[in-house]
Amino acid sequence: MTPHANTHPGAIGRWRTLPSAGRRAAVSLIVMLLAWELIAHSPRLFGFEVPYLGVLPAPSAVIGEWVMLLGDAHYWGSWYLSFTRVFAGFISALLLGVPLGLWFAISPTMRNLFFPVFEMLRPVPPIAWVPAAIIFWPTQELSIISVIFLGAFYTITLNTYNGGRRVDLAIIQSARSMGASRSNIFRRIVLPGTLPSIVAGAAIGMGITWEVVVAAELISGGNGGGGGGLGLFMWDAYLAGNHEQILVGMLSIGLAGYFSSGLLRRFGGLLTPWLSRN
């Protein structure tokens, strides 16, 4: 036995120290994977194929494929491409959406002029913009990014606008009665008062960008474009009949969305330290 043995709790000990939320998540994940594995082997095990799910590749096969892909430059290149597109679209949505939302919130004139147009364009799903985007933008990359941008832009603008309008009138009045100038009120009252809504809008918007990026890549890449990215990675896997890789692609996108939203929430939490969290 090594001298350090006692300082390392065994697997059971570590399991006990996990918070209960983590333990529950682990249990549900394991149960789900086991059930999936069983179903995938159903023709051999039970002599019949479980409808719909029976044709899925088994998780062990998917994980095996995934482990193999971890050493594959093309797979990581797809990650990189999708990430840069999401990042570019998301940042431009943030840079345009937040000021526009704030402007809607503080200026009735602005609201009256442009809010109806905004509300009319909003129901058009980002994917429906793909053909127009391809025609409009000079490069395929820009068309994909512009579609991603739209995915996040409406949500961020609308959340910012609503948050800005909900800043308590009494708070603004009390700032005025303490002699704050208009710019002071904007910087120290309206902006921080809207920040929690901006963060919430950004987190939702980030989720949408991942929904959009795959579709945008599928469409533009499928058109002989060869644009790459996780979307096209999946499309290629489909064309090649590699079901394991399709699932790896799906799970990769899920993970990417999960991490980027999580990261954003973490960062948003740092920006809004006054909000109590449970």
Binding site: D168, A170, I171, Q173, S174, A175, R176, S177, M178, G179, A180, S181, N184, R188, I189, P192, G193, L195, T272, P273, W274, L275, S276
Partner: protein
């Protein structure tokens, strides 16, 4: 009249104030030829039935909206009147609201220093030093770096008064600031406010529904009529300041509360009858 200490600033005069709210098809006369003369350092308590127009009057003094006619002066200077439809909000008349309006995203210290730093009348270190003093005076030392949400409601109210006092206002405008508090906390707020006033005798215009609060705190009580708002009864409370809770059992105190109660009750009945009449087509 007995005053906590002689001061010369904070003479608030409201003359013939009238306020009519106009919306699409209704006109509401909220304040009708209301005059009030509040002396420097006086604590003037306004009581009156719900919806009579007390907040409307206070907001006109604060500068959140204008008057339809009439004039308001502070130490002889015209705040609002002929040729000046609306007072400019300013740190000489700081407002404390019923539901509290601390800035949730600022720590106690940042809240309290907000006024002078916005007005650029102090450097950051000067403001912080003064804020710490004011907070310590109010028994709030050690709270500087907390956010409002982490404070009890009583502490929040005291921080808010400290924040207002940071601006060295001539008049403190309090619109039912303790309404949402439980009676025990409220009693402590009352004593704390009077202590503060003894240290720094600012003029206070204080709106309340609570007659005991009015008698306990005020140099004078003004009972407002049912809408439209105008003073129907003024009562000097001849109990020497500084007061503490032992006076609440005295005969004089109970007498004041009872006569105020009678006056308010009468107005409440009128207001109720008026609303009934209004409700009928």
């Amino acid at each position: 009249m007995k005053r906590a200490a002689p001061t010369s600033i904070g003479h608030l005069k409201i003359e013939d104030a009238v306020k009519v709210y106009r919306s699409r098809n209704v006109e509401t006369l909220a304040v009708d030829h209301c005059s009030l003369d509040i002396q420097p350092g006086e604590i003037c308590m306004i009581v009156g039935p719900s919806g009579c127009g007390k907040t409307t009057l206070l907001n006109a003094v604060a500068g959140f909206h204008g008057l339809t006619s009439g004039r308001i002066t502070l130490d002889g200077e015209l705040l609002c009147g002929p040729g000046k439809p609306m007072a400019e909000p300013g740190p000489d008349r700081v407002v404390v609201f019923q539901n509290g309006a601390l800035f949730p995203w600022m720590t106690v210290l940042d809240n309290v220093t907000f006024g002078p730093l916005s007005q650029k009348t102090m450097t950051t270190s000067e403001a912080r030093e003064k804020a710490r003093e004011l907070l310590a005076d109010a028994g709030l030392a050690g709270m500087e770096h907390r956010y409002p949400e982490q404070l009890s409601s009583g502490v929040r109210r005291r921080v808010e008064i400290a924040r207002a006092m940071m601006n060295d206002p001539a008049v403190l405008l309090l619109d039912e600031p303790y309404r949402a508090l439980d009676s025990l906390t409220r009693a402590m707020m009352h004593e704390a406010l009077l202590e503060m006033h003894a240290r720094r005798p600012v003029t206070i215009l204080f709106i309340t529904h609570d007659l005991e609060e009015a008698v306990f705190l005020g140099h004078r009580i003004v009972v407002m009529s049912a809408r439209p708002c105008r003073p129907t009864l003024q009562m000097e409370i001849d109990i020497p300041h500084p007061r503490d809770y032992s006076i609440t059992t005295s005969d004089a105190y109970r007498g004041y509360v009872e006569s105020a109660l009678d006056a308010v009750h009468l107005e409440a009945q009128k207001s109720f009858a008026a609303n009934e009449a209004e409700a009928r087509p």
